[in-house]
Amino acid sequence: MPRRRDRARSSLRGYRADASRRSGLHVVGDGWRTLPRPVRQFSPAIALLVLAATYPLYLSSLPSGNVPIIHSFPSVRSAVTILVFTTMAVGLNVVVGYCGLLDLGYVAFYAIGAYTAGWLASGQFQQVRFHFGSVGVTHTANGIHISIWLVLVLAALLTALGGILIGLPTLRLRGDYLAIVTLGFGEIIPQFVRNADSLHGFDLTNGTFGISPIDSPGFGNSLKTSLGLPSAYSQDFDADRLFFWTALGILILTIVCCIRLRDSRLGRAWIAIREDETAAGAMGIPLMRTKTWAYAIGAFFGGISGAYIASFNAGAFPSQFNFNISVFLLCMVILGGMGSIWGVVVAGVILSWLNVEGLANIGTWLNDNIFPAGHQIEVAKYQFGIYGVIIVLMMMFRPQGLIPEARRKREIEESGGHGPLDSSLYEMRSADERGGTGVPHG
């Protein structure tokens, strides 16, 4: 098999070389190929990264307010939310994309993360006074104030633990039952935080008002004087930029972790389970443990994002956590391509942007330019209907997503063209599926 692939590759290379020679671009092409492989491999990602990291710097020179259709580019503040939601989508991708477990309650992890930040870095518990590396808070303030950096880690670990606790009893269930159980948890946890303002008289979550204010990240005064790092983000003039760069850092960390995980022993086990659970079990993969790991790691990233966005918004409110968010995140994973990190990142950025300001802007543009007066439509009102349409259309016509995973493309190539193009979906089938007629791969 490898030999055949090499032959195919070299002939393809030859064809491409001919084409570029004809067009006179071969100088550039040859120069590109002489570069070492890591440079070639990573330069698109690095270019993208530089473009993203400098976004707050060149945003002011981009046209604003008169861009056709989208009105203006997202503000730095919106961009933070976009990045955090993209991080969550990448985390959900571990569960849904790698391991093939449909999770309809990812919002529960978001909520656990946000409320952990609320408990450990705010004045919620007035009964105690505990400070540990907190910044931007006077030392006499009551409540638990732990450094946000530590809280992010704690929230992620606690959420991962929550994922394990939810996963252990439920992961035995087959696909659709698992989906409905996760949905149940996704509904219970927000209702719990909404109602847990007097558990035997103890105010755990401050009910519908939510926990606010939550401390912001920062490096403290000593590091500010010695290294010039910001003391506390919220007190900084350019707070949004600082939040933006930190969010970008978290997203990159998440992406790197997910890529490394995918290629690890654990990741290969996930993909094996996704492709055929029975066969994977027969090959000696411990099903329960592997699936629980997928759940815990997916939850981990949900928790870290939840805690971070709570710190960014300086609050955690129960109205943020509803089923719609779970479906919104699922929509990102489906649109991008289940299992495809870059696909999910692209879809995550696009959909979160639509959610934050894109749809409203596009709606205004449509009402001004397309729809006649009197037939105006509030586009943003139907955002979840639009996501529903995206989900249904993707499932019907392009189930592999916009940017399918490279592994799947290779699989299709290797199968010599007689594999079904939408074979990616057959990999999702549960082992006990009744009407499965998937053509075997390879």
Binding site: D176, V181, F384, I391, D432, T437
Partner: protein, 322 residues
């Protein structure tokens, strides 16, 4: 056990309230039963949790509200004959409406995915749920809609403080014959036999000359019709909004799972139990957690059943479920 003890203690403590709540639970459960049957019918034949079902229910309810208030202009001052006639017409139209919407969803979204894996269809169902919900939103806007109290709130009988209202009687009077009719339809007619055969083994049924696609369409029609009846009954007592269907649908689905999904009498039993649990939870009893926690309790039950007894109360242990 603890729950039963709690019930018994309440019965001894405040018997009047107990029976009142019991009747409320029965009424509520009847409405849930009609919706739960829709889930169970579809699941039985396609192994699909039709997420859009609850939203079809809400859309039909909104449609019914506009029929009753705008088209027929019924209110409490109309004569009894007009009310009965109007409601009968509403029932028939809404049955047809719900059935058509449900069958259209199947035709447009699910049929193309017949050979796709189950999760793909499930994800599509979630998408359809949002689409139907937004259709309701587009047509009927965000406000709650209700109808004037057509059925009198006064009591049919009162025994020692236990009240039984006309409204409650009305719900039971409509539900019971519908259930009988449904049983007859599934058990004794040719189409019902085809449904049961397809549920057991679609390929073998196709070989035996059953038109599987038509049978599935028929199932969706039936489920939609039941949701239509349920929606009108719900509307007579409560108000409806575009997103009412989501939560009610989940409760009804829980009921179907509790009774054993795919099992018709199980769905009815489960629905009545869930109705009771909800009523007692919201009732004026000691240590009743109250309506704030209803959703958590219902989903807690759902999770517990799926984890410990996935085949439900009346269902059979299947290889998939066990």
């Amino acid at each position: 056990m603890l729950f039963l003890a709690w019930l018994g203690w309440n019965l001894a403590d405040r018997p009047t309230d107990f029976f009142n709540i019991f009747l409320i639970g029965l009424t509520q459960g009847s409405v849930y039963a009609l919706v739960a049957l829709g889930y169970t019918l579809v699941y039985g034949i396609l192994q699909l949790i039709n997420f859009a079902h609850g939203d079809v229910f809400a859309l039909t309810g909104l449609f019914a509200s506009s029929l009753i208030t705008d088209r027929f202009q019924l209110d409490e001052t109309s004569t009894a004959l007009v009310i009965v006639g109007g409601l009968l017409a509403t029932f028939l139209i809404c049955m047809a409406f719900g059935a058509l919407v449900n069958a259209t969803i199947e035709l447009v979204a699910y049929r193309r995915l017949r050979s796709a894996p189950r999760l793909a269809v499930l994800i599509t169902a979630v998408g359809m749920s949002f689409i139907v919900q937004n259709i309701s939103l587009a047509i009927f806007n965000v406000n709650f809609r209700s109808v004037p109290p057509l059925i009198s709130d006064s009591n049919v009988f009162t025994v020692g403080g236990v009240h039984y209202s006309w409204q409650a009687l009305f719900v039971v009077l409509v539900t019971a014959p519908v259930l009988v009719l449904l049983t007859w339809l599934v058990k004794s007619t040719r189409q019902g036999k085809a449904m049961r055969a397809t549920a057991q083994d679609p390929e073998a049924s196709a070989m035996m000359g059953i038109n599987v696609n038509r049978t599935i369409s028929f199932t969706f029609l039936l489920a939609g019709g039941l949701a239509g009846i349920g929606a009108v009954l719900f509307l007579v007592e409560f108000n409806v909004r575009y997103d009412t269907g989501f939560e009610l649908g989940l409760i009804a689905f829980t009921a179907a799972v509790l009774g054993g999904i795919g099992n018709l009498s199980g769905a009815v039993l489960g629905a009545i139990i869930i109705g009771m649990i909800q009523a007692f939870n919201e009732g004026p009893f000691l240590w009743a957690p109250g309506s704030d926690w209803t959703r958590s309790i219902v989903f807690g039950i759902l999770i517990a059943i799926l984890v410990f007894r996935p085949e439900g109360l009346l269902g059979e242990r299947t290889p998939e479920g066990g």
